[in-house]
Symmetry: C2
C-alpha cells in the first residue's frame, strides 16, 4: 500500500539557499555544539557509566537522556552520508562503542535504568520513556548504518528490539503494554525496512493496535505499582480508545504526531485500510481544526497538548518545535502512502514556519515554544526567557531540528515502484537516482522560497522513459512550465504535474510562478484570530516585529486595498524577502481604558514591514505578531 | 481615611426589576436549595460531628466546607434583615448552635480539623484554608448579628479571632504566618467595625503587611513539615513581595481580589497611604490590563489565575464567578475610600455581566467558569459539562452569589460623615436613611438597565439640608435631570452629580439618559479580540447566542454602519432588551481549509440578534460569542 519510497538523503545534496544554508550550518556548527552540551550536562557521562567506565564528576542521570543522544547520532548519520566529517564520525563512533558496552546480556539497553534503577526496568511505561528512548536509538542505528555502512549500533538495536519483542505482545506470558510516549512504532518500522525482519513490523503493529483498549494498560500498570489512579481520561496518551477508532487529535502533541506517523507506516505495510482510514481522519482533524498557520500543533501549555477544535491562541500558543517536526513526519508518511500535494503543502508549511522558528540564525539557540504573538515583555515558556535558549533541561527540540535538517534530502524527492520521480520540495539541490538501469540526476537552481523561478537540469545516462511529477504548491494559482524552452501542456493530478517523456542527455525544465503576497484569514471558528488576517507569500508565513515598525505592532490594521511590496534584502536576517505596505494603526490614546467606544477605533496611516515568521527574535527582544486586525473594506 | 459608609442592606429593599427579581428568587428558592445541597453532600454532617452529635452516614469531611456553610449563613443573615423567613432562620439558628458546640475550649473553630485531623491544626496555612474558613465565619457572624440581633455566632467568632490573635503576629513567640487563601483580612476588619475591637483591625493589618516578606513563610512552613519546596515563585499566593510594593495582579484571582479588598480596608482604617497607593496600582493593573469586558478576572484555568497583561482569551477564559464577585468587593472598598464613579463603573460591569452569568434564571444552577465564547461543543471546565451545574465539589461560587445578591442594598447607596447620600446603582428600590435628625426615604422607580428613565421620590420627615450625589455612569454621554420638573443645572464631580438643597416633604427627581447600543473595542494589546468588537448598552454586555441567529455566530461580522434596534422582550429570558441589526456573515465555504485567501472573506448580509451575556445558556446548549469580527468601514 505504500506507494512512494523517499529518496535516500545521501543522494540529495542541498546546495545553498534558505534550506541549504541551514543544513550546512547544522553540520558545521550545530551538531558540534550539541555534542558539547551533552558532555557539559552529563548526558555522555551517563552512557560512560552504563558502559562501566569511570567518570570524574557526579552524574545524577535522567530517564530520557538516551533519546537526546540518539537524535544527535541519527543527525550525525544523515550528515555523514552527504558530507564526510572526521571529527563528527569519531565522536559518534565513540558513543556507539559505549552504547554497545552498556547493553546488557539479554539485549536490554537504557543507560539510565542500567545505571541508576536496575530494579525499576519496565515498571512504568506510562511515564518513563524506556520504549521511547529505544525507538530513537533504533532510528539512529538505521541512519548511522545507512550512512556509514557500520553495523555495530544496528546490531545492538536489533538485540534490543528482540528483547522488547520477547517481553511485549499478545502472546501468552507477555506484557500487553505500550509506551506512554510513542516513537518506537515508527522506529520499529524503520528497523524492519532496514533489516527485512518482519517481527519488527509486527511488533510495531502490536504497539499501535494494542493502544487504547479497555481497561487501559496504564491503569493496570499503575495499580501493579501500588498507585491509585483517579482519572480515567487517557487522551493525553492517545490511549482513550483504540487508534483505529480515533478521529480527533488529542493529548500531548509530539506523542500524537509520532503515533499517527507510526500508524500510517503500520497501516501501509500491513495493508490495514481501516487503520489508514483512522489516519486520514486524524490528519483531517489535525490540519483543518487544530493547526496554526505556521504548521505548529499542540496549542496548550498544560500537557503540551492539543486543545479543542479551533482552540488556537496566539501569545499563549505552545506549538512545540518537536510537534511541528512530528507533523512533518506525519505528512511525509501520508504522502508516501497516497501521493497528493495537499500533504506536502502542510509539510512545507510546518517546515518553513513552525519548525525553522525553533532555531536561531546563529545555529545554536532554540525555541521550545513558538507563540504567534508576543508583547515584548512576558516570558512565554514556563517562566523562562522569551529568547531562544542554548539548551533545555528537557532538550528534545535541539537534536530533533538537527536530525530533520540533516535528513531534508529525503523530503525533496521520492520514487514510485515504476521508477518515476516525484519532486516535492523546491530548493537549490543536486540529486541522483538509479532508475530503469540508468542514472538520472536532477539539479535545482532556485532561490526558493524568495524567487519565482526554478531551473531544473535533468541529465540521464541513457534514454529513459520515466515520469517526473512536479509538485504544484497549493498556494500557487498561476505558473508556467517549459521543457527546453517549449511550453508544457499538461494538467495537474492531485497536486503534481506529470512530465512524461524519454529523458536523455540534458534537459532543462523551467518553472515560473507568481508568488504574490496573500492576505490570509482563518476559518471564523478560530476565535483567537477572528477579524484578523496574516500575510503569506509562497510557503512563508510572515510576522511584524517591532524593530521594523514605528507604531506598536499590536495596533496595526491591514486592509483589503493595501498594495504590498516585496523586496529581497540580502543583509536582512541572513537574506530574505521582506514585505512592506501602507496599513493603518489604531491610536493608543485610551491607555487608561481597556474597553472603549468608539474613539479607540480611530486609526492613522502607518507603514508596515513584515519578515518571515521563522526569522523573528534574531535581533533582540521585540514585540511580534503574525495576525493583525483586518479591515475588509478599507483602503 | 474611609470616606463613605455603605448603607445597611436591611434599609435598602430591591423591589423588582432585573436585580430585584434575582434577589427575591435568591431568598425564595436559592438559599433553600443550597441548604439542601449542603445536607446532601455531608457539609452539615461535618458540623454535627464536630459538635459531638451522631450522624447516620459516613462523612469523609473536607477542609474547606466551613466556608460554604459560612457564606450561606452570611447570605441568610442579609436576607433575614430585609425579609423575615421563619424557615431560613430556624435552619440558620440550628447551624449556629452546632458551630458553638463545635468550638474548642481555646476558641479554635474548624469543623474539619477538630473532627478529622486534630493534630494537624495550623500546620499548613498555605494550602488548607483554616484562616480562610475562619474569615468567612466572621463575615457570617457579623451579618447574622446585624440582621437578627443574635450575638451567639458573633461571640463564637470573636473567641476564634482572639485565638488567632494569640497565635499569629510579630510578637515574640507568635507564628509569623499568613493565609494561603486570603479572606480573613477583610473579615477581621468587619469584625472590628462590628465590635469596635482594635486588635482585630491590627491583626488584619498584620496579615496584610506580613505577606510577601522574604524568606517566604510558606517556604519555612513547608520545611517544618519536612517538605522540599522547589519553586520560589510565590505569585500564585500574592506572596512574592510585600503587598505595599506590589503593582501587578498575580496568581489565583479570587485570593488576589480578597487580599486587595482587605488591603484597602486596612489602608483606610489605619491611614496607611503607602498601602493605599499599592491598592491603586493593583486596581489600575487589574482593571486596565487584566479584566474581561464582562468584569471577569483571572484568565487562566491553570491556577485559576491572572495571566500576563492583556492575556484575555475568550473560549478558554476562566473568569471564575467568585473572582468577579471579589472584584465587586475590591471596587466597593476603593469607592468607599475615595468616592469616584469610575469604581462603580467597574462594580456595575462585574455585577451585571461576569457575576450574574454565574447563576441560571431558574436560580439554582451555577457557572464556576465564565467563558466569553463557546462553540456549542467543548466542555469548558475541567472536562465537565458546558451547562450550569447544580453544585460543585468545590462549591465556592453558589453561596458567594447568594450572599452578594442578599446584600446588594449596601452597594446601592452610601453616606458620608456629613450625612450626605451617594446613589451608586440605579435599580427599583426603597431605601431609608437616618440623617441630620430626620428620616429620608428614597424610592427608585425604574426598569434599569433596560429603560432610559429613573424616577426618584425623595421624602423627608423634616427640612433637611443635605446633598444627594447621583452617579452618572461612565457609559452615559447624554442625560437630563429635573427636580420637581425643573431642569437641574449642575456639573459632575468625579462621576457624581450633586443635588444640594433643603429636602422637605416629597421631591421628585427625574433622570433621563440616552442608552444607545455601543460598539466597543478593546485596547489593541488584547490580542485575543484584535479586529473585533462587542456590543454594550448601558452596563450590559451583550453576546450572540446561536439559538437566536440563523448563521453561525462565529461567522458574524459587525460593522460601523449598522443601525441597531433595541426591543424590550417581556417573554425573552425573564424579560430583557435584545439588540438586532443587519450584520454580515462570513461564508463557511472553505470548511476543508483552516486558512484561506481570500475567498473565505466573502460575506453575505445576515441578521444578528444579541442578548445580555449574563443570560446566555438558559435555553439549552448553543454556541455563543461576545466578540465578533468588526469591519470599521463596512455598511
Amino acid at each position: 500500500m505504500r506507494t512512494l519510497t523517499p529518496a535516500n538523503s545521501k543522494n540529495v545534496l542541498l546546495t545553498d539557499g534558505f534550506l541549504g544554508s541551514r543544513v550546512h550550518l547544522n553540520r558545521e556548527l550545530t551538531l558540534h555544539q550539541q555534542y558539547a552540551r551533552m558532555e557539559e550536562t552529563g548526558r555522555i557521562d551517563q552512557v560512560r557509566l552504563a558502559a562501566g567506565e569511570n567518570v570524574t564528576r557526579r552524574c545524577h542521570g535522567h530517564k530520557f537522556w538516551d533519546s537526546d543522544i540518539a537524535k544527535w547520532l541519527e543527525a550525525v548519520g544523515y550528515s555523514l552520508a552527504a558530507y564526510p566529517d572526521t571529527e563528527l564520525e569519531r565522536l559518534a563512533d565513540a558513543v556507539v562503542d559505549l552504547l554497545e558496552k552498556a547493553q546488557e546480556d539479554d539485549g536490554y539497553l537504557n543507560t539510565y535504568y542500567s545505571t541508576f534503577e536496575p530494579d525499576k526496568k519496565w515498571t512504568n511505561l506510562r511515564d518513563n520513556h524506556e520504549l521511547y528512548c529505544a525507538g530513537h536509538l533504533m532510528e539512529a542505528a538505521v541512519a548511522y548504518h545507512e550512512a556509514t555502512g557500520k553495523r555495530k549500533l544496528l546490531d545492538v538495536m536489533c538485540r534490543m528490539a528482540d528483547h522488547i519483542d520477547s517481553r511485549f505482545g499478545r502472546e501468552k506470558g507477555n506484557v500487553r503494554g505500550y509506551p506512554g510516549h510513542e516513537e518506537i512504532e515508527l522506529a520499529l518500522i524503520r528497523l524492519h525496512c532496514a533489516t527485512g525482519e518482519t517481527r519488527y513490523r509486527d511488533l510495531a503493529a502490536y504497539f499501535v493496535n494494542e493502544r487504547g483498549h479497555s481497561p487501559c494498560f496504564f491503569q493496570t500498570e499503575a495499580e501493579t505499582r501500588g498507585e491509585q489512579v483517579r482519572s480515567s481520561d487517557w487522551r493525553y496518551w492517545q490511549a482513550h480508545k483504540p487508534v483505529r477508532e480515533q478521529d480527533e487529535a488529542w493529548g500531548h502533541a509530539v506523542r500524537a504526531m509520532y503515533l499517527y506517523a507510526g500508524a500510517v507506516d503500520v497501516a501501509t505495510l500491513t495493508d490495514d485500510t481501516e487503520l489508514f482510514e483512522a489516519c486520514r481522519r486524524l490528519w483531517n482533524n489535525t490540519t483543518t481544526r487544530k493547526m496554526y498557520i505556521t504548521g505548529g500543533v499542540g496549542a496548550r501549555h498544560t500537557g503540551e497538548a492539543f486543545g479543542e477544535d479551533y482552540e488556537l491562541p496566539n501569545s499563549t500558543a505552545y506549538a512545540e518545535t518537536c510537534a511541528a517536526i512530528g507533523l512533518v513526519f506525519f505528512a511525509h508518511r501520508m504522502m508516501l502512502a497516497e501521493p497528493d500535494g495537499k500533504y506536502v503543502d502542510i509539510l512545507e508549511r510546518a517546515l518553513y514556519n513552525g519548525v525553522l522558528s525553533g532555531l536561531s540564525l546563529d545555529g545554536h539557540h532554540y525555541f521550545y515554544v513558538n507563540p504567534l504573538s508576543y508583547d515584548g515583555k512576558a516570558p512565554f515558556f514556563r517562566g523562562e526567557s522569551n529568547r531562544r535558549q542554548k539548551w533545555f533541561g528537557c532538550a528534545c527540540c535541539p537534536a530533533n531540528i538537527s536530525r530533520l535538517l540533516a535528513s531534508l534530502g529525503q523530503y525533496v524527492y521520492s520514487t514510485n515502484n515504476d521508477g518515476d520521480i516525484y519532486l516535492h520540495l523546491y530548493t537549490a539541490s543536486e540529486a541522483s537516482f538509479q532508475t530503469g538501469g540508468a542514472k538520472l540526476t536532477v539539479t535545482q537552481e532556485t532561490d526558493y522560497p524568495w524567487g519565482e523561478e526554478v531551473k531544473l537540469t535533468v541529465q540521464s545516462s541513457d534514454i529513459l522513459r520515466k515520469t517526473i511529477w512536479l509538485r504544484v504548491p497549493g498556494w500557487c494559482a498561476d505558473y508556467e512550465v517549459s521543457i527546453d524552452g517549449q511550453p508544457l501542456e499538461s494538467s495537474v493530478h492531485r497536486g503534481y504535474l506529470p512530465l512524461q517523456r524519454d529523458w536523455s542527455g540534458t534537459t532543462v525544465v523551467d518553472l515560473t510562478w507568481r508568488m504574490p503576497v496573500e492576505t490570509v484569514a482563518a476559518d471564523p471558528r478560530v476565535e483567537a484570530v477572528r477579524g484578523c488576517a496574516a500575510l503569506q507569500r509562497g510557503p512563508v508565513v510572515y510576522c511584524v516585529e517591532q524593530v521594523d515598525n514605528d507604531v506598536p505592532v499590536s495596533n496595526l490594521v491591514v486592509h483589503h486595498g493595501t498594495q504590498w511590496t516585496v523586496d529581497y534584502c540580502p543583509d536582512l536576517l541572513g537574506g530574505c524577502c521582506s514585505i512592506t505596505g501602507d496599513a493603518y494603526a489604531i491610536e493608543s490614546t485610551h491607555a487608561k481604558s481597556l474597553y472603549a467606544s468608539p474613539a479607540c477605533l480611530d486609526v492613522q496611516p502607518a507603514r508596515l514591514q513584515a519578515i518571515p515568521y521563522a526569522l523573528w527574535a534574531n535581533r533582540g527582544n521585540h514585540a511580534m505578531t503574525v495576525w493583525m486586525a483586518y479591515d475588509r473594506a478599507g483602503g
